[in-house]
Symmetry: C2
């Protein structure tokens, strides 16, 4: 499948904890599935460290390449949280308190100490628009086509639906999985012919090695009828090879 640029996205995972191997990134999968439902295809993911120059260069490169960019990580209260300030520099905007974000946090922390670290979470590029955080109140934000989300998966997952009316949606990307008992190498030649027949369908082939080896075939397309026809052909092929 080829997508028009307006239905493409890139994801930038900002965080040493992913690069060090300490944490397995689950945000890519969640964001990608959410976008696919809205007809948007994730074309590239980058994982980069908490270093200002790298964040600025990467965001600046990818925001021109794809319609939407999602960043995760680096918007908390600590010294290694430098995403918001870096994004300000990408857009040559002042990095300052966002009035509404500040008020939300002030309200939330009223009985506790609203300290510098907590205030920092209200600092954003001057023209940032908020992405409300129904879970822990420190908001994300977006500037133009760059959407800045936290790294903690449960918070990110609560925030993403807030963007439902912000993202321009395309035709939902449908998928169909067929689990076969065949080894990948038993089916590869015939499958290649089916891929040639159905050029507008992505046919993916994913072997597994449990008690018995097998292969999961995944068909993806925005065209429902075509997908069904392809699925029937694949099932016929699988039956013929058993």
């Amino acid at each position: 499948m080829e997508f028009k640029k307006e239905f493409t996205a890139g994801i930038i995972i900002i965080g040493n904890e992913i690069l060090s191997g300490r944490t397995v990134d689950k945000n890519t999968s969640f964001i990608a599935l959410w976008l696919n439902d809205r007809g948007i295809s994730v074309e590239e993911v980058r994982v980069i460290p908490d270093k200002e120059k790298i964040i600025i260069d990467t965001v600046d490169e990818l925001r021109k390449k794809f319609a939407y960019i999602f960043t995760t990580g680096g918007i908390g209260p600590t010294h290694d949280d430098i995403t918001a300030e870096s994004i300000s520099k990408v857009f040559n905007q002042k990095y300052q308190y966002h009035t509404e974000a500040y008020q939300i946090l002030e309200e939330f922390y009223k009985n506790e100490n609203f300290n510098e670290g907590r205030k920092k979470m209200a600092k954003m590029p001057e023209n940032a628009k908020l992405i409300p955080n129904p879970k822990t109140f420190a908001a994300g934000f977006y500037v133009e086509n760059v959407f800045v989300l936290p790294g903690v998966p449960s918070i990110l997952q609560a925030m993403l639906p807030q963007l439902d009316n912000v993202i321009k949606t395309g035709k939902k990307i449908l998928s169909s999985s067929i689990d076969t008992n065949l080894r990948e190498s038993q089916i590869s030649e015939q499958l290649s012919k089916l891929q040639d027949k159905y050029k507008n369908i992505d046919i993916g082939s994913y072997p597994y090695f449990k008690e018995k080896p097998g292969t999961i075939l995944v068909l993806r397309s925005t065209e429902e009828d075509l997908l069904k026809r392809c699925e029937e052909d694949v099932k016929k092929l699988v039956t013929s090879l058993k």
Copy 2:
């Protein structure tokens, strides 16, 4: 921490299944931990689709940037497995049967049909050196500083130790985790001062939100004594804030 180029690596995850969100990538974490034990720091990860031009451009860009590049995925028998041929093009080498890789597969499949799909798994750049596969026999390979591994985690994990004597190792990257009951925003100001004091230690701060919120602090360094001193200071800080 800053690493000399000779102790840096990049990872390229090749596969539509990661970009579509269907599969969570676990290979980055495994490779990064393995490299950290050998004193090598992963500086960047890219996830890209099974498209030839993108594979060629990405590998060519990153192999110059870092000492080691690891690719995962796209070396199986099916139509979407185009990594080996793409790597041949990166190095301007013929894409052809590797004699030893071919013999290993021929031996393994002797009682079955050694078909085109299976033979394809022995095709590599002409000067490729094998990375033996003790699990399913289809070998990986490397050319110069580019190491080409499969996408299936269990097979990748069996193959990586085969590279023990190939990778030049540095000082092991040590890490220490301290689980605190503090919110990140309670500790951020003091922690920032500690980071200023210990410039050669990466101090990461990772909040969690379970029944009670808390923060895991992770210290990373190649210097054991320094790491211990920093750990003591962090523990004192945590105690003082409770």
